[in-house]
Amino acid sequence: MNKIKLKYPPGDFAIWMIIYIELLTFGLFFLGYIYSRRADVELFNASQLLLDQRSGFINTVLLITSSFFVVKAVEAIKTMELKKASKYASNWLLSAIGFGGIFLVIKMGEFISKYQDGINLSTNKFFMFYFLLTMFHFLHVLLGMIILFNLYLKTKIQGYTKEDHRGLETGASYWHMVDLLWIVLFPLIYIIR
């Protein structure tokens, strides 16, 4: 049996306009990185070796897990009875916020470690892209966590129901975009040489 498709993406349509613009912006940064790399492959490869791949890996796992928790929160609201759904969703959202917080702490540690080693935005072109991309993404994670926290507060007062959970889907979509961007950023900056 064919399932009826939705005409518009989940959540408020305005968030999807923001998502498309964000994807385009990060996309241009990614291309800038790749085509600058072509001008000095040796420098980019040598600089990339100074990054801690383990923290990049842990951060990827944290963001994917956090995204998964948000999916579970939305699923709970869509499928469970209101009181139980709100309790489950708020727990999932709080866990997602916690994982996002650990991501930020690890990333901050990475920035501090680089600055202590005398590496900054003006060290070379690779690190200019590294700091620009990861700091820009860092700010998106921060904003995403503020959004998730607001969703959490609303689930605590049973503010989302099976019939009306548009706000939850709006915030969830933004958080998944933050995850999607990191999924491309991680191999590009940390792994591929």
Binding site: I34, T60, I64, L180, V184, I191, I192
Partner: protein
């Protein structure tokens, strides 16, 4: 195990695979192609299932996927050329 849990496990498996490739410092065009392909698969799973676009008709469903394919193709070109 529901579909989201299966997708989550797949995403973590691909991420671990990517990390191990980096950890072993493997570098060749084939390795880059494999890494970019797994990145595409991960992104596609997030777009279709986590973002819920699989349930959406038409252009709004495909815009993020087209973005992903374009970015990964251009990255691949940047490495190959």
């Amino acid at each position: 195990m529901n579909k989201y849990t299966k997708i989550y496990i797949t995403l973590i498996s691909f991420t671990t695979f990517t990390f191990l490739i980096g950890w072993m410092k493997l570098t060749s065009l084939i390795v880059i192609a494999i890494l970019l392909f797994t990145t595409f698969l991960k992104g596609y799973l997030v777009i279709e299932y986590f973002m819920g676009l699989k349930e959406v008709e038409g252009k709004y469903r495909y815009i993020p996927t087209i973005w992903l394919v374009s970015i990964i193709s251009l990255i691949a070109l940047g490495y190959y050329l």
